[in-house]
Amino acid sequence: MKTSVRWFLIILIGGFFLLAGLGKLAEPDAFAQSILRYRLVSSPLAALAALWLPWSEVVWALGLIMPRLRLAATWLLFGLLCFFQVALFSALVRGLDINCGCLGTIGESGVSMALLRNCGLMVGLAVIAWLEKRSQ
């Protein structure tokens, strides 16, 4: 039962990050513009982040399916989500009228929706980490 729950979460969350990363990789300029809209970083930093963040999502999502890398990938993705939550919350507080840019070309969602979705993903990742620790 615990194994099936763990695999369900790994496929769900890993699949989400894989698609989100690939969606951003398909349109790096558009993703760099999305980052800039948060008004937190300068253009050069937005360009570097637009290069690094999608690969992090893709590589760490794939890391979730590899038993030896799973725990590390889980915490890295959790950390990435914490970082996203800070950016999204600051956008919400400043009343920025933007799309979150979370899914690249795959889809759009508002800031509040993205905050809620990320909370769900964080809970899912925490459950994966807990199950992983228990099985070791």
């Binding site: 980052i35 809209r37 360009a47």
Partner: protein
């Protein structure tokens, strides 16, 4: 953990070397208008695409509030104030917002009208120009 960090960084560096850095400069379309050009247009109907809260705090005189989420009711209000002689200029919050571009594109489609523009720099630029 280090392996995963290095892998992600390695792929990103590889992509950067092959394709160059992404360009975050916003892409302009043919319907972007500067504030100066928009203020010279006559007659014009201004559409405020910011949040209702910001619209209620302050907006351009005569502007109409519209949003993508409540497009139909906004459109019926717009049709009461607009006549086909008028150009339409949609503005949102500022440099980073995109709702004016989205709304202008929707209005162009629904009205079959080419003179629906979005304001470059939005409300922030409008305030700056009016303070000069």
């Amino acid at each position: 953990m280090l392996i995963l960090l290095l892998l992600a960084t390695g792929f990103a560096v590889g992509q950067g070397l092959l394709q160059g850095l992404p360009d975050p400069t916003p892409k302009m379309d043919a319907w972007g208008l500067t504030v100066e050009a928009a203020l010279e247009m006559e007659p014009v109907l201004w559409v405020d695409a910011r949040t209702e809260q910001l619209f209620n705090q302050r907006h351009l005189e005569g502007a109409l509030h519209m949003s993508h989420d409540d497009f139909d009711s906004g459109l019926s209000r717009l049709l009461q104030s607009w006549d086909p002689e008028m150009s339409i200029v949609v503005y949102c919050d500022g440099e980073g917002c995109e709702s004016s571009q989205v709304l202008a594109a929707e209005l162009r489609e629904v009205l079959g009208e080419e003179r629906v523009y979005w304001l470059i720099g939005g409300w922030a630029e409008l305030k700056e120009v009016s303070n000069r």
